[in-house]
Symmetry: C2
Subunit: 366 residues, 2 copies
């Protein structure tokens, strides 16, 4: 088995599992900090590991352009390059390429696009996306898919989903199996239940090591997303990990875990941190708010981890003075907050007390 | 005695000592990383401590404007505020204020200036500079002086030095003595030997816990600076620490240690690091240089410390991609490189082999 996945406990639909890779175990439900260009912005690998993160996400689009997959491979792979020795999942590059607008052209063969860095032309096909992720030495390769625009008509959603399924088969054909490495398929179908069902069936007939739910977190809002998840998660095989791509805020994650999702990634903790927004046990705050100028309390005493122990007044000062250490510490805190939330979620599923965690975060975040 | 200073060894004029403060010992010769606005740019206090730094420098000018000395005092002092629990030396704010040009007006009373942040009016007098540093809880307070412009005529240098000496007396009168805290005087006199001698005599008749050499590293060049040091250092009392302000590059420091200087500060390691320049055991490099793109060697295997172990190719990539982690790691490395150099200097003075360290750094840096 390329990637072993074991389920240890359930609480309602919420699942507590372990996904084993060549670079170690991923405890699920898991949140993956995003390391776009071979770095989680502003954090050393040790700072990231210190938060308890088991796995990072790397972006194929950014890495294929700079430093290039060929260079990363020559330098020993992404783990060695960025000195992160735990598991890595890479996306396929599709999502970023699709969002290039006029700079890209989609055909059945793949996506032709111009680099945002130097305007050079590139071709991303299912085969090439799979090869790049192999060269990066990614533990979890994602299939290239067409992330359906939102909103989409039924006909648009169907045709887009069917192309994604043909591409999924081509990725599977191109994927080189190794112990501790795996390939995930991505369910599409926009907001249409029967298209999601058809997509899931198609993916399962191809056979993948895990199944992602794509085409969400694209502006549809939490209520619509949860509505889709209510149907879509159950269509996926129970014995394989389920990954909701690009999600999300704390209550998005908690709501999705409640519906049976195992894996998440999002730039929110680091992006928010760079702009002075902190996720805390007492809600979301903007550290630039004047009320923090003289507040000598730690940022969040309920979060273990170094960054969370600096005073709100100090962090406020760093942001007012535009000091690099402000974004560094707030990114670090936010990633630690997310990982602590995932830890609490995992522990509560084991204990059968997940509803208590749900209630606590709803209190802080509604 | 407010600050105990012990000399353990000599090698030529070079001295190996310990300066003891309320927040711990400073091993001399010592290099102080600059923490302008209550942060060494881009580094957590633990990262700075990890380099072996015993003491930081804080800037009175920046801190008095933001977050203000009153706020830092309310929040428990600068050590507590920035969570740096080892010694801190603060400058007097004079150097920054003098360089404000049209925004400042100097009189015998002090310097009136407008904030570069919001244009608000402030007055910095010898008494106020001393009070601010007290409020910051600085272990080593520097007297307010007039940093004489370079070049200066004899008459300009004399009149400026004499005003600095009157201000030094006013600082001494305003200084509140506490165990483990001290006040340093600053020798002026530009490039004129007899003015430097007069300044030193004046300072010693007032009596300070340490003596700085001011008015250097202002564009005069290394040869002129060493020429002044050849005369000026010997004018200062042997039993007290000697501090060369704002210096410098590796060979500036080594040349000054050779002439009997004990303490240094400079923004070079962090400022250079932010712009991709690294000080290494094999010389100064620009990590953006294309020859590093595929170089899988560690940045500097001769420097212990985490940052120095990342590959040149990875650091090159981070700078090309304008990732925050590039400036962070290169600043961290440079501070570690400086501290390792100071460690080697101190050890070699104890062993009577300082000339070997001099020769090694001259090889790498000439």
């Amino acid at each position: 088995m390329p990637l072993n996945f074991t389920l240890h406990a359930h609480d309602g639909l919420a699942r507590r599992g372990t996904l084993s890779t060549a670079h170690g175990d991923i405890r699920t439900p898991a949140f993956m900090p995003v390391g776009t260009a071979a770095t989680v912005k502003g954090l050393t690998p040790e700072m990231v590991a210190d938060t308890g993160a088991d796995v990072l996400l790397g972006n194929t689009y950014h890495l294929m352009l700079r430093p290039t997959a060929e260079r990363v491979q020559r330098l020993g792979g992404l783990h060695q390059f960025m000195q992160w020795h735990k598991p890595i999942l890479t996306d396929s590059g599709g999502f970023q390429v699709m969002s290039l607008g006029d700079l890209r052209k989609i055909s059945e063969h793949g996506v032709e696009f111009k680099s945002h860095i130097d305007g050079s032309k590139h071709m991303l096909t299912p085969e090439r996306a799979t090869e790049i992720q192999y060269m990066l030495d990614s533990n979890i390769t994602m299939v290239l898919d067409e992330c359906t625009a939102y909103p989409a008509t039924y006909a648009q959603a169907q045709s887009s989903m069917e192309r994604s399924m043909r591409w999924a088969q081509r990725c599977k054909d191109a994927f080189i199996a190794r112990d501790g490495y795996g390939l995930f398929g991505i369910q599409q179908g926009s907001m249409y239940r029967d298209l999601r069902a058809a997509s899931s069936e198609c993916l399962q007939s191809i056979g993948f090591d895990g199944y992602a739910i794509g085409g969400l977190a694209v502006g549809e809002g939490q209520e619509v997303m949860f509505g889709v998840l209510d149907d879509a998660v159950g269509m996926l095989p129970t014995e394989r990990p389920r990954y909701l791509m690009g999600v999300g805020k704390p209550l998005d994650i908690i709501g999705a875990v409640m519906r049976g999702v195992d894996m998440f990634d999002c730039v929110i903790p680091t992006r928010s941190g760079r702009f002075g927004r902190a996720y805390t046990s007492y809600g979301e705050i903007n550290i630039l708010n004047a009320r923090f100028a003289d507040d000598d309390q730690p940022l969040d005493a309920a979060v273990s981890g170094r960054a969370s122990q600096f005073s709100r007044a100090y962090l406020h000062h760093l942001f007012k003075a535009k000091e690099m250490l402000g974004p560094i510490l707030l990114s670090w805190h936010n990633v630690a907050f997310y990982q602590q939330m995932m830890h609490e979620i995992r522990h509560s599923i084991e204990q059968g007390t997940f509803h208590e965690v749900v209630a606590r975060y709803q209190m802080a975040y509604i």
